[in-house]
């Protein structure tokens, strides 16, 4: 069976977990704390980032974008329900938006928030552990509002983020938002279209394993696993 090194609250790992589940690929999950910079993990991925997939032939595929392209070429190609669609224009729009969430949203929202509210709980003081820096959390809470408006803007005129079909872009966006939702920082009441799209994503069978993730000493937000929030 293939293996995925991940962290339950790593948004890019969640993106790949959703993608694997949508393709029906079973995978063994191994939790990795990237801030520990474990030697064997750095050999698999010198960049030190999550996630890293080890395919069933022992082939190492590091990094969310590289894994997504690899899955498209080895599993998605030829499928009716290919999650990186066939046409050049659809592929550009899907990659543009997937990158938006895996890079821009990650830098402006999910990476600093998960770092402050989750990772720092499990770090030793020498690794940067401690309580959350509230100035960072406030900046994130301000940043997320325009991303939510952007999702609302896209889904007001399209069925899914990149067009008529669900793609990598929806999975990436929902994965990142789910981490923010875990700690209760998505202002859902501000955008009805974005909320309606996220309800659809959250109701998919691929999402179930994300909704049951628990971390020692942390309780997810009240509405986190609620399909009618």
């Amino acid at each position: 069976m293939a293996i995925l090194f991940h962290h339950p609250l790593c948004p890019r790992s969640r993106y790949i977990r959703l993608l694997l589940a949508e393709y029906g690929i079973e995978i063994e999950l191994i939790e990795e704390r990237p801030f520990e910079r474990r030697q064997d993990f750095l050999i698999a991925n010198p960049a030190g980032d999550l996630p890293v997939m080890i395919d069933s032939n022992d082939f190492v595929v590091p990094g969310a974008a590289t894994i997504a392209e690899y899955l498209d070429e080895t599993r998605g190609l030829g499928l009716d329900r290919r999650l990186l669609p066939e046409g050049p224009a659809e592929r550009v729009e899907t990659r543009r938006l997937t990158d938006w969430f895996n890079t821009k949203f990650y830098q402006e929202v999910s990476e600093p928030l998960v770092n402050e509210k989750v990772y720092k709980r499990y770090m030793r003081p020498g690794q940067g552990g401690g309580g959350p820096e509230m100035s960072v959390v406030r900046a994130v809470r301000s940043n997320i509002r325009y991303h939510l408006r952007y999702i609302g803007h896209l889904t007001a005129t399209r069925k899914w983020l990149a067009g008529d079909n669900m793609t990598h872009a929806d999975l990436a966006a929902a994965a990142h938002l789910s981490c923010v939702d875990f700690v209760g920082d998505v202002p859902w009441s501000e955008n009805a279209e974005a909320k309606e799209w996220y309800m659809r994503m959250k109701s998919r069978p691929s999402f179930r394993s994300l909704l049951t993730d628990r971390l020692p000493g942390m309780t997810p937000d009240r509405v986190y696993a609620d399909l009618d929030f």
Copy 2:
């Protein structure tokens, strides 16, 4: 003719310029200063990043990674000299290393350096203009050393960064390094393998237009355009 919105010292724009030149695709270059956040440019690419390609059919392709995949699928596919190679293992290694330079090297070296030493010259005070912050420049000069060792480590056992053939990874690495070289901050004497590999890259016809780039009020480092540095 296709158009590329770029900045002469934007490392990701240089990566795409090299890629286009290697495929022999002629393109009109239009200089964009991303820090000016020009409205028409933000319509073409809401993320506000360079580069953005407008293909000859007016189709907009934003972002280096998305442009590279688009060029592979619309121009590279089927070519003998495909710059994102065919095999799954080669594609993973090429994408891993391309992403290393476009993301990790960019964050740790080329983006802060170009910002401090180039962009800030052309920004107004309200945009963040002024002299370079030397603490940032010192951090970059420290960070680049391990990247140079990594290039040396790879090219000590491989002909090119990702294997037997030149790929996207070599073009990305050389593009980022060329920006650092422009301002004279590559410690070439520290790694003979990395230097030998860069000399090969710099001698390619695709590199010529980068070596003649000039900016108002800035003189490139003495060895910048020297093929025998």
